[in-house]
C-alpha cells in the first residue's frame, strides 16, 4: 500500500447541497479523506451509475476538512453529456463513488512572486483554492476569468475577493471585456510583472497561455483536460504528448503525470483537441 499523505482514497460520498449558478451546478459532497489530502489542481473521479463505466473527472473547487457535516468538497459541474447531467440532477443525500484527490497539483513558488491565474469556464474552479494558497505565501495574485458568456463564467464576484486584480473576458461581451484570454493576457502579464502563470481551460486556451507566458518570460503551469476513462492511471487512455526533462519526446498520462504540466513541456501541436473532461 502507498503511504504518501496525498495518496488518493476511494470512498462513497454523499451529496450535501447542490445549487444552480448560471450554466453550472455546484455540488457539495461529504467526502471523508479527500479534503485533507487536497492540493489545488487535484481532481476527483466520480462514478455516474453502474451502466456508465467511465469515470467523470471534476476539478475540486473548494474543500472543508472539518465542518458541521465533516469533510466536504465542492465541484462545479457543467451538464452537457449523460454523465454530467446525471451528476447535476443528484438530489441531496444521494450517494456517489468518489476517487481522489487525483493528479499532480500546481507547483507553488518558493518565493513570494507575482502570479497570474487564468481560468476558463468551469475550469476556473481550481483557481480559487490556488489563489488562497498563493496568498498565504504572500504572492501577488492576479486573476483572469474567461467564458463564452456570463452564464458560463465562474463566480466573478468571488474572484474579486480572491485576487488583487481581476480581469473578466467573455466571448460575447455579456460581462467584462469581449474577446478571448489571448486578447487580454499579454497586457495582464506585463502589468502584473508576472513570474508564474497558472491556467486551466480548453487546450486551445492553454496553448495560448503557454505562448504568452513564454513571450513574457514567465513560467507557465497548465492544467490539461484530456478525455479520461479511469482517471487513476490504470488505462493509459488520456495520453498527452510532452517533452521530458531529459529532452526526449514521449506520451504521458494526463491523470497521473498531469493534469498540471509546465506549458513549455507540452507538445501543443501534437495534442489533438478533443472533448473536455467535464463535457461527458
Amino acid at each position: 500500500m502507498t503511504t504518501s499523505p496525498y495518496a488518493p482514497v476511494h470512498i462513497t460520498g454523499e451529496v450535501l447541497t447542490t445549487r444552480k449558478v448560471g450554466a453550472f451546478r455546484h455540488i457539495t459532497l461529504v467526502a471523508p479523506g479527500i479534503p485533507e489530502r487536497f492540493r489545488p489542481g487535484n481532481f476527483v473521479a466520480l462514478s455516474t451509475g453502474a451502466d456508465r463505466l467511465g469515470r467523470r473527472a471534476m476539478w475540486i473547487h473548494r474543500v472543508k476538512p472539518t465542518g458541521g457535516y465533516g469533510a466536504t468538497i465542492e465541484l462545479v459541474v457543467e451538464p452537457v453529456g449523460p454523465g454530467t447531467r446525471w451528476l447535476a440532477s443528484l438530489p441531496t443525500g444521494a450517494r456517489v463513488e468518489i476517487t481522489g484527490p487525483l493528479g499532480r497539483p500546481f507547483a507553488l513558488p518558493k518565493e513570494p512572486v507575482s502570479c497570474v491565474l487564468v481560468g476558463e469556464g468551469y475550469a476556473a474552479a481550481p483557481m480559487f483554492p490556488l489563489a488562497e494558497r498563493l496568498r498565504e505565501r504572500d504572492c501577488a495574485v492576479t486573476l483572469v476569468v474567461a467564458a463564452v458568456d456570463e452564464a458560463h463564467l465562474l463566480s466573478a464576484l468571488e474572484a474579486r475577493r480572491s485576487a488583487r486584480a481581476v480581469t473578466v473576458v467573455t466571448g460575447d461581451g455579456s460581462i467584462g471585456s469581449r474577446g478571448t484570454v489571448a486578447d487580454v493576457l499579454p497586457d495582464v502579464l506585463a502589468k502584473a510583472q508576472a513570474e508564474v502563470v497558472y491556467a486551466a481551460g480548453s487546450s486551445t486556451t492553454l496553448h495560448q497561455v503557454a505562448s504568452a507566458a513564454e513571450q513574457a518570460g514567465a513560467w507557465s503551469q497548465t492544467a490539461l483536460e484530456q478525455p479520461m476513462a479511469c482517471g487513476t492511471g490504470l488505462c493509459q487512455g488520456c495520453a498527452v504528448p510532452v517533452v521530458g526533462e531529459d529532452g526526449v519526446a514521449r506520451m504521458v498520462r494526463a491523470c497521473v503525470d498531469g493534469p498540471v504540466f509546465r506549458g513549455d513541456r507540452v507538445r501543443w501541436d501534437d495534442l489533438e483537441p478533443r472533448v473536455r473532461v467535464g463535457s461527458a
Binding site: D51, P227, T232, L234, M251, R274
Partner: protein
C-alpha cells in the same frame, strides 16, 4: 473455494489476478490495495522497443463496456526491467509479464530476457490484441500462428517458468486455439482478450467490460468441456464475486479482473477479500 490455488505450476494466494493493461504500472493500483494479496499482477503488454501508443481518443465508453485502442503503449523492455519490474517484485506481487512482439524473434528475445529476470513468476503471451492489425504486432490469425509464438517463447524460458497464452474469446475458434497453444507448451490458457470491435470513428479497437461477460463465460465453458484437463484463466467483464464464481464453476482455475478496475480501482483486492470471507 480452496486457496491458495495451483496455476501453471505456481502456488498463488488467490484466484483473482489483475488483467493486462488495466493495472497501470502497478504503482497506481497500489494506492487502493495490497498487490501481494492478489493471485497475480499481469502487466500491460511489454514490447522490445518502447511504443508511444495510438491516436486519441483511445477509450470510448459504450453501454456496459469500453472500446479501447491504446495501441500497446509501453516503455519497452529495458525500461520495464530497470524500473517497473523491481518495484512490483518489491511489493510482493506475483508478476506475470504480458508480452507482444512484431516477429517470432522478438517474442523469443522477450522470453529470453524475462526468463533471466529475478521476480518474474511467468509470462503471458498476448496472442489476441484486438487491434493487432493496427498495432504492428505479429498477426495471429490462425491457431498455428499462435502455436508458433508459444513454441518460440517456451524454448527461451527457463524450466519452471510458465508461459500462459491469452487467446481470443471467439466461441467458434476458442477450443481449437486453446488446444493448439496448450499442445505448443502453454501451461494455461487465458480466455480471453477484449473482443475485436470498432471505435465510433471506425478505427479497430477492443470491447471489454460487462458487455462481453456472457460471451467470455461461454468460451470458458466450451474450452473446459472439450479440454477438461486444461487450466483456464477466465477473463471478460468480471466485477463481482458472483461473476468470479460463475467463471470458476464453468471450469476456470483463476480469473482476471480488468475493466472493472477502471470503474472502481479497489475491485480486485475487494474480490480477493470477499472470496476469502465467503468462499
Amino acid at each position: 473455494m480452496v486457496t491458495p490455488i495451483e496455476l501453471a505450476g505456481l502456488t498463488l494466494p488467490s484466484p483473482i489476478l489483475v488483467a493486462s493493461g488495466c493495472g497501470g504500472t502497478g504503482r497506481e493500483l497500489a494506492a487502493y490495495g495490497d498487490l501481494a494479496a492478489l493471485g497475480g499482477f499481469v502487466t500491460r503488454s511489454i514490447t522490445v522497443s518502447a511504443r508511444p501508443g495510438g491516436a486519441m481518443p483511445r477509450i470510448v465508453e459504450t453501454p456496459s463496456g469500453f472500446i479501447n485502442a491504446i495501441g500497446l503503449q509501453n516503455p519497452g523492455l529495458d525500461h520495464f526491467l530497470a524500473t517497473e519490474l523491481p518495484w512490483l517484485v518489491q511489493q510482493g506481487a506475483r508478476v506475470f509479464v504480458s508480452i507482444a512482439g512484431k516477429s517470432l524473434g522478438e517474442y523469443a528475445e522477450l522470453a529470453r530476457r524475462l526468463g533471466r529476470s529475478p521476480g518474474v513468476a511467468g509470462v503471458e503471451v498476448n496472442l489476441s490484441a484486438p487491434d493487432a492489425s493496427g498495432t504492428g504486432v505479429f498477426d495471429v490469425r490462425e491457431p498455428f500462428h499462435a502455436a508458433s509464438v508459444v513454441s518460440a517463447v517456451q524454448r527461451d524460458l527457463p524450466r519452471g517458468m510458465p508461459a500462459i497464452a491469452k487467446v481470443r474469446s471467439d466461441v467458434g475458434r476458442v477450443v481449437e486455439s486453446a488446444r493448439t497453444v496448450l499442445e505448443a507448451g502453454a501451461a494455461a490458457v487465458v480466455v480471453g482478450n477484449a473482443f475485436p470491435a470498432a471505435l465510433p470513428d471506425g478505427r479497430p479497437g477492443g470491447l471489454s467490460g460487462p458487455a462481453i461477460r456472457p460471451l467470455a463465460l461461454r468460451c470458458v465453458a466450451e474450452v473446459h468441456a472439450a479440454l477438461p484437463e486444461a487450466q483456464i484463466v477466465g477473463a471478460g467483464g468480471i466485477g463481482t464475486v458472483d461473476d468470479v464464481r460463475s467463471f470458476l464453476d464453468a471450469g476456470a482455475t483463476a480469473v482476471q479482473v480488468g475493466t472493472a478496475l477502471l470503474h472502481d480501482p479497489t475491485t480486485a483486492t475487494r474480490l480477493v477479500a470477499e472470496l476469502e470471507d465467503a468462499p
